[in-house]
């Protein structure tokens, strides 16, 4: 009897390493031998107290032996592990009853080894016996059968071990194979297991009769030792097998009866075959049929030892074993060499007489010892976590994922070529549909929704003057539209399928037009940002000082000793550059907007889907304010550009619309704003009565006009400025006069004149509602009524009040204020558009004025002092008689009764008219003023309310154009009757809406302010 001793192993990674659990027997020896012959290193784990029946292990190299108790060291020290063979087919644990503790220990041990396999990614092979597995399918455990402690039958561990192994395969992905072996026959037969074949062989070699149970038809699977070993090795090394569980046995089972017959053939000593009566015959009917696992032949294994040959070897081995057991004697001190270890055997204790008994006793001892070792192993060792490097973990993780994917794709192995082709075709069709139809539709929808959202946000940012956001949003919008354009351009398949060519064209046009819009708003934003930068740089503090001679002046911090501004800060940006940037961006904005409009007009929105029309319909209406914004911005920049030169002096002339005269109303206040590089360097404002005439004397033309219209003697050398200005009818005289006055008053050349009419206070005070004079809030409507109510006050008081009010307003417009330049000067533009303000270059060329002199001028020349004319209305009846000699005789009759407060009224006719005569008036009621350009008839309205004048003019090329100009603020209600003399007829009417033609002539009525003009063509009447 031999034993082996635990070896101290120096682990290395040089050899493929295998662990054979329970391999300390003949079976294990054969496996170890085969593995070592292939250059591997084998670690056999078993109960080292086990008695061995042969000494073959001593011949093996590269084999180490570890007791179950040494499993902890194995886990700690092993660096490489490739294969684990868990031989459970002959383990005592699977062949006897186990207590729950033993079951736990054994299962824990198996658990540890499976974990080890997972740790090292080793291949795990579990062997069980077919016999006990078959039993597990028909046997049930009856709990409580054996006293109070739960006992597990042998087959339960077989079932448990297989299930556990399969679970590990599922959970941790380790390669597991389960081999169910038939009963080992040959030189490893276990005669002590009381198997059928064992009994028969023993009976046979003993010369006894062969006793069969029941009818001898119980069958078993058998396999020769060497075939079983070969099968185990082959199964372990064969990868990618279809199944996991295989039977390793001869293909067909053999019945007891056939075994008996064979024995009789092979063993001459064997007796007769006899049948034992079964006291408790088993009922064969209804028992479940056992389905064996696939035979290992599936992977190419074939039993090489024929059954008969195997039986012969079994018989021979049995005979030798019995003989050795019977004559057993031990030399207790004789060492048995085993590799590099030495072992000391010991004599059996408590062994009974008889070889078989001895074998059974040995088995029991081994089983008991093994259980103890398992229990100790469980208590003393735990699976210790090995420290692995990050690289190893990563590699392991990647390999595991790949293997997982491979397993999930295993189904492809079953896919035929045709099916693969169909799958590929379906995938291709899906990809085609996805990229050519689905994706473009989704992208187009996405871009439209984003474009809409960005357009709304962009417009809101524009309206709230958030220019940074404007620039960002416009870029986003352009990106959306660009994407939309590209997608539409590339969606040929989609368009072909849906037949929506026209819709695509429309949407492309829409995308491009909105890109222009985005550009426009972006450029507008850049321009406004530049203006805001200017504002932040050059805003000047202006202070109203209503009790001073100049009611407006610079703030104290910005005045030097000379009253001029100091450079209180270094210019961070050149205003000229800022204006240039703003102007160029505004030009870009206006061009882009024109492009947007031009493209938009060509689109037909009705073609586009309703939801797009709805999405963008409301935006389009809000964008209508953009042209106004651009126009306002253009004005603002133009205005501010004036100030950006090295020196620019702008005069301010404030007129009172409620005191109309021959021009825009009587002048109530005069001032000057001086600019240099965008900064205000000086400001001054005063009521007109405080302005002294410091120029040279009146010119002849000025004197003529004033004296003839007023009937007064004027001091030419030192005239009253207000009085003179009241009677200057012609533009040239008036502008020339004021130019000289302002130049001499402020001692500066005047570059531009800003005319401000008191009527603009309505909107200005509405914009700045918090202004106060003497603690009285200046509301737009109430304040004007207050001014109107000052009829008992002097003209000077009124002038002062209006001028002071504008001082407060100009402080807001020109001084430091939080509103944007467009916000401030936008109102100036609207007042200019409404005729209540005017900006002129102070040269002989007037911007925007109609240079042609009107034929007739009608208006109020002066107002009663202390009285104000509210809404002067003049009703004029005009008759024109067109004669055959291409001349026209006209009579203009003006009724001034609707202009209460007017003192003197006039009708002037240009001097090319002849035969001028006042109509229907006594000579004492009028006077005539012959001016350079006009002949004027003047009345006192207190004496005469109606004034008529008739005159003759020649026609030009059979066309007569009559133009009438009205003094500022005067409303003309006209009734024009044009008659044709016999021989002439109406040839055509130009620009005369609402004209009536009858047999008597041409009739035209209406109401207007400013200028009135109509033209009529005349032809010779055909007889």
């Amino acid at each position: 009897m031999n034993k082996v001793a635990q070896t101290k192993i120096k682990y290395s990674t040089a050899y493929p390493t295998s662990v054979v659990v329970g391999g300390l027997d003949r079976f294990g020896y054969e496996i170890a031998k085969s593995l070592t012959q292939q250059g591997g290193f084998v670690i056999i784990i078993d109960n080292l107290d086990k008695q061995l029946d042969f000494a073959g292990f001593a011949e093996l190299n590269n084999v180490a032996f570890i007791d179950y108790l040494g499993i902890g060291d194995l886990i700690d020290s092993v660096r490489r592990l490739d294969y684990i063979f868990y031989l459970n087919h002959q383990s005592p644990l699977s062949q006897s009853e186990l207590s729950s503790q033993d079951f736990l220990a054994a299962s824990s041990y198996l658990n540890q080894l499976l974990n080890l396999a997972a740790e090292f990614e080793a291949l795990f092979l579990l062997t069980n016996s077919i016999k006990y597995h078959r039993l597990s399918s028909i046997e049930n455990v009856n709990p409580g059968l054996y006293q109070s402690q739960r006992w597990f039958s042998a087959v339960e561990f077989v079932r448990y071990s297989e299930n556990l192994a399969l679970e590990y395969k599922q959970a941790k992905g380790i390669e597991v194979k389960i081999l169910r072996l038939g009963e080992i026959i040959g030189e490893a037969i276990e005669l002590d297991k009381n198997t059928n074949i064992g009994k028969l062989v023993l009976q046979g070699i003993s010369g006894e009769d062969l006793y069969l149970e029941e009818d001898g038809l119980n069958s078993e699977y058998y396999v020769h030792l060497l075939d079983a070993v070969y099968g185990v090795i082959k199964a372990q090394f064969t990868k990618g097998t279809e199944d996991i569980i295989y039977n390793v046995a001869y293909k067909e089972p053999y019945t007891e009866l056939s075994l008996a017959y064979k024995l009789q053939e092979l063993e001459p000593q064997a007796g007769n075959i006899k049948f034992l009566e079964d006291e408790n015959p088993s009922v064969r009917l209804g028992q479940p049929k056992y389905l064996p696992a696939p035979n290992l032949e599936r992977i190419g294994w074939r039993p090489k030892v024929e059954f008969e040959q195997a039986l012969l070897q079994t018989i021979a081995f049995s005979k030798s074993l019995i003989k050795s057991k019977s004559a057993a004697s031990y030399d207790e001190d004789e060492p048995v060499s085993l590799g590099s270890a030495e072992a000391v055997s010991y004599g059996p204790q408590g062994m009974k007489n008889g070889a078989l008994s001895r074998l059974i006793e040995e088995r029991k001892l081994n089983a008991s010892s093994q259980r103890q070792k398992f229990n100790q192993s469980l208590a003393s060792s735990e699976l210790k976590k090995r420290k692995t490097s990050f690289g190893a973990k990563l590699r392991k993780g990647v390999v595991r994922r790949i293997d997982k994917i491979k397993k999930q794709l295993d189904f492809l192995q079953n896919v035929t070529l045709t099916e693969m082709g169909i799958y590929l075709l379906l995938v291709s069709i899906f990809m085609l549909v996805f990229f050519t139809i689905l994706s473009p539709v989704v992208i187009i929808s996405r871009d439209i929704l984003l474009a809409r959202a960005n357009t709304v946000a962009l417009n809101e940012s524009r309206q709230s003057s958030n220019w940074e956001d404007v620039l960002g949003r416009s870029a986003l919008l352009k990106n959306n539209l660009k994407s939309l354009e590209e997608t539409l351009t590339g969606a040929d398949i989609l368009v072909s399928l849906t037949g929506q060519q026209q819709l695509r064209q429309e949407m492309l046009g829409f995308a491009q037009s909105y890109q222009f819009l985005a550009d426009s708003i972006s450029s507008y934003g850049s321009a406004m940002k530049a203006l805001e930068d200017y504002q932040n740089e050059v805003r000047t503090e202006i202070v109203p000082r209503l009790t001073n001679s100049s009611v407006l002046s610079l703030g104290d911090s910005q005045q030097g000793t000379s009253g001029e501004t100091q450079d209180t800060s270094v210019d961070q940006q050149d205003p000229g550059q800022l204006f240039a940037t703003a102007q160029s961006n505004l030009d870009l904005a206006q061009r882009s907007f024109r492009n947007y409009q031009r493209l938009s007009e060509k689109l037909n929105p009705q073609i586009m889907p309703q939801f797009i029309q709805t999405l963008f319909g409301d935006i389009n209406s809000s964008l209508n304010t953009l042209p106004d914004s651009l126009s306002q911005a253009n004005f603002v920049i133009s205005y501010l550009k004036l100030s950006s030169s090295d020196s620019h002096n702008q005069a301010i002339i404030i007129t009172d619309e409620l005191r109309p005269n021959s021009s825009a109303g009587e002048v109530v206040g005069v001032g000057l704003v001086s600019y240099s590089k965008g900064r205000i360097t000086g400001v001054s404002l005063a009521p007109v009565q405080n302005i002294a005439f410091a120029a040279t004397s009146l010119t002849d033309g000025e004197n003529l006009e004033v004296t003839r219209l007023s009937g007064l003697q004027i001091d030419r050398v030192n005239p009253n400025v207000a009085e003179v200005s009241r009677y200057l009818l012609s533009d040239s005289n008036r502008d020339g006069f004021w130019g000289r006055v302002l130049t001499s008053t402020y001692n500066k050349s005047i570059d531009s004149i800003w005319y401000i009419n008191s009527g603009s206070l309505t909107s200005l005070l509405a914009k700045y509602p918090d202004l106060q004079i003497n603690n009285q809030v200046l509301t737009s409507t109430g304040y004007l009524q207050t001014i109107s109510g000052l009829q008992a006050e002097s003209l000077n008081s009124r002038n002062t009040l209006i001028t002071n009010t504008f001082a407060l307003v100009l402080e807001k417009l020109l001084g430091k204020d939080n509103s944007t330049p467009v916000g401030r000067f936008g109102i100036v533009k609207s007042e200019i558009d409404n005729g209540r303000m005017k900006l002129d270059n102070a040269t002989s060329t007037k911007i925007g004025l109609d240079k042609s002199a009107p034929e007739v001028k009608i208006g109020i020349i002066s107002v009663d002092p202390g009285r104000y004319v509210l809404r002067p209305v003049v009703a004029a009846g005009i008759t024109n008689e067109i004669a055959t000699n291409n001349s026209v005789f006209s009579t203009v009759t003006a009724d001034f009764s609707g202009s209460s407060g007017a003192r003197q009224a006039f009708i002037c006719v240009d001097r090319t008219a002849s035969d001028l005569s006042p109509a229907g008036l006594g000579i004492e009621l009028y006077r005539v003023a012959n001016l350079e350009q006009y002949n004027c008839v003047i009345i006192l309205t207190s004496q005469v309310e109606k004034l008529g004048i008739s005159y003759r003019k020649n026609m030009q090329a059979s066309e007569y154009t009559q133009s009438i100009a009205l003094a500022s603020g005067v409303t003309l209600r006209y009734d024009v009757e044009t008659k044709f003399s016999p021989g002439v007829d109406l040839g055509g009417i130009e620009s005369l809406p609402q004209a009536r033609v009858s047999g008597a002539g041409l009739f035209y009525t209406g109401e207007t302010q400013g200028k009135f003009k109509f033209s009529v063509k005349v032809k010779e009447k055909n007889e």
Binding site: F434, S439, V442, T487, L508, Q512, Q515, S523, L603
Partner: protein, 226 residues
């Protein structure tokens, strides 16, 4: 079953996300570059002619080159189609001596954008033309012309025929000839140019396009003392 359903849902969601995000739109993958072959032209061109002095050309803020009268026209071939900011600056040693030219111009990959300019001290005393084209989105294949001038009310004629006072829009032009344009206004120098290329194949490409001609006329200074 539930697992498969979840997988299908996840795949569908991923497909929708991919469809919405469409990352392939931003991939610049060209099979031609893989094969080492020059890709077909997808860029637009700008032609700049200097009528006087040397002009520095900037596109979207990047200097692309400079050109004088002798080296004209200067052709820039790597302009991405779409709206681009083009700026011309006359090279001078004196700051602010000349005005600059700045425009947002539309570039198409098939059609050159042409600028011929002389930059003077102010815009009034500068002269030049800018010709760009937009794809018309109307169904017909007409080629139309828009003319915008500074100053306005310039008398325009096409192939000797009077077509009205600028600014003009939607003038249909026959691409079978080169379309000679003449712009004249009293007090300004007259501009005459051939609008279309001489090659008929090139002119065919303009079918369905809207041509934009912008012209700045040179103000003739008032003679003094005559």
């Amino acid at each position: 079953m539930l697992k498969k359903f979840v997988v299908v849902i996840i795949v569908v969601i991923l497909a929708v996300i991919c469809a919405v995000a469409a990352p392939w739109q931003h991939w610049n993958i060209s099979i031609f570059s893989f094969l080492g072959v020059a890709p077909p032209t997808e860029l637009a061109r700008l032609q700049v002619t200097s009528l006087a002095g040397e002009l520095e050309i900037l596109v979207d803020g990047q200097t692309k080159g400079s050109v004088g009268p002798e080296g004209s026209p200067f052709i820039i071939e790597d302009i991405e189609p779409g709206q681009r900011l083009v700026k011309l600056v006359r090279v001078t040693e004196t700051d602010g001596a000349y005005t600059s030219f700045e425009r947002l111009l539309n570039f198409n990959q098939d059609i050159d954008t042409v600028i011929a300019y002389e930059l003077g001290p102010t815009e009034e005393f500068s002269e030049g033309t800018v010709i760009t084209a937009f794809r018309s989105f109307s169904n017909d294949q007409r080629t139309t012309l828009n003319i915008e001038t500074s100053p306005g009310d310039v008398k325009a004629s096409l192939n000797g025929q009077d077509i009205g006072l600028t600014n003009l829009e939607g003038i249909e032009i026959d691409i079978s000839n080169i379309a000679r344009i003449k712009l004249e206004k009293q007090g300004y120098e007259t501009i005459e140019l051939n609008l279309l290329p001489e090659d008929s194949v090139q002119r065919e490409k303009l079918k369905g396009y809207e041509i934009q001609l912008e012209a700045n006329l040179f103000l003739i200074p008032i003679r003094i003392g005559e």
